[in-house]
Symmetry: C2
Subunit: 252 residues, 2 copies
């Protein structure tokens, strides 16, 4: 376990990933990974947002984990149904049937709530991937890509993701969290793709661009499935994704 | 000119595109196109959102075009700087230095304002493309793709686009406008790609999926440039886009 790292008034505990996703982790270097899930399992950081354990002034605050989880669920439901605009401390309190003070005790701002919701989404994705992941890098790559594109246009997790990135575009703190773990996601995809190979720097850059293209394609398909499922059905998105992966894995 | 088409209490005038972008329009069928720009030029609908001329009860309302444009500019500036959350009728009124009543006269809701801002973005993009477009379909495809990915991480137009799609994910009216013109964008890209060819239905579907993949890649790269320019610089996005286009246009 790493020591809490101070960032202004808060500290972030960076927990090295030490289990699962073996094919990727060996090459990527476990110490470079972020992310924990409940029940003591460490997982890969998917969709770029790792699981952070936040401390106030270096120590745990007296947050009630069950209440915190209920508030996050309330936020996810509101965002999924009505979008981020509908979220307010008052609205979350009403939805979760707690006092406004209780919400404020757990989350100081709407952005902090959204960040917690995004962490919740990613934690569940990561746990799922950790169960399914294979020792076969191409297969793992396909699993990850497929998992990240929603299979329903009203998928709550993906709506939270879209609300998160839209907000991150104008909010530095959210952007920093997102950027940091997208970088790590790309690095570990590259490491996975290079398992067993020693490639020159130029080839590594090409592979990195391919992985970044895949991540961008996944994100663009996600937006399309969410907003225009008649044109971009989840099934069509998967067809497009598979064709892209086929070309990429064939070295095309 | 088409007759105004009634949609509940408003009507939308669909203006057929009849000039420019010749290589695409011939195959796509001009009557299927939406989109007008100022100065009487008809253009291709880019980024999916066409230029709509809105009427109240089938007739022009007494909107002041200059004031309306100033309000849209105010909204774009607020969204670009602080995001959609910061937008309110009060805020737009203050930013544009007009009364709240004047804002309400021109835009009934925040969504109506956002839609107008998105139309403004697309109109400018379309006008730019119309100036640059070639009779060479692959070249045109590359121009369009490059134009749609922002060349700055603080690009106001792209931030408005991201705010728009995030909201469209939970708001049917915005989603319908977006979906309709994304469908037309895909159709005209396919038509352009098939210029001079008569392909069997199966091949047409493959080409459609290729164009949809390109659109998704462009959108995903846009998100990355906006939110994490350190990993995804505008320059890197263009490298990735060009590599994708090279493969696609080589039939790979």
């Amino acid at each position: 376990m790493a020591t809490p790292r101070a960032t202004s008034s808060t500290a972030i505990r960076v927990v090295p990933r030490d289990a699962g996703v073996a094919a990727w982790s060996a090459a990527a270097g476990a110490g470079d990974m972020l992310g924990t899930v409940p029940y003591g399992r460490n997982v890969w950081s998917t969709r770029g947002i790792a699981r952070w354990s936040r401390y106030e002034d270096g120590a745990m605050t007296a947050h009630d984990p069950q209440r915190r989880a209920a508030l996050v669920r309330a936020l996810v439901e509101i965002v999924a149904e009505r979008g981020l605009d509908a979220v307010s401390v008052r609205e979350v309190a009403a939805h979760a049937d707690v006092s406004i003070g209780a919400v404020q005790h757990h989350f100081r701002t709407k952005s902090a709530m959204l960040q917690a919701a995004m962490e919740d989404v990613v934690t569940r994705w990561a746990a799922e991937l950790d169960r399914e992941i294979s020792d076969d890098p191409p297969k793992a790559l396909r699993l990850i890509a497929h998992r990240l594109v929603p299979d329903r246009s009203d998928d709550a997790d993906s709506r939270v993701w879209l609300a998160f990135v839209a907000r991150a575009a104008v909010e530095e703190e959210l952007a920093a969290v997102h950027a940091d773990s997208m970088r790590k996601l790309e690095d570990s995809l590259v490491a996975g793709a290079m398992t067993g190979r020693s490639a020159p720097a130029r080839q590594r850059r090409t592979i990195a661009d391919e992985m970044a293209a895949l991540m961008a394609l996944v994100d663009g398909l996600t937006v399309a499935v969410l907003v225009e499922p008649d044109r971009m059905s989840p099934r069509r998105a998967r067809t497009i994704l598979d064709r892209h992966l086929d070309h990429m894995l064939a070295g095309g």
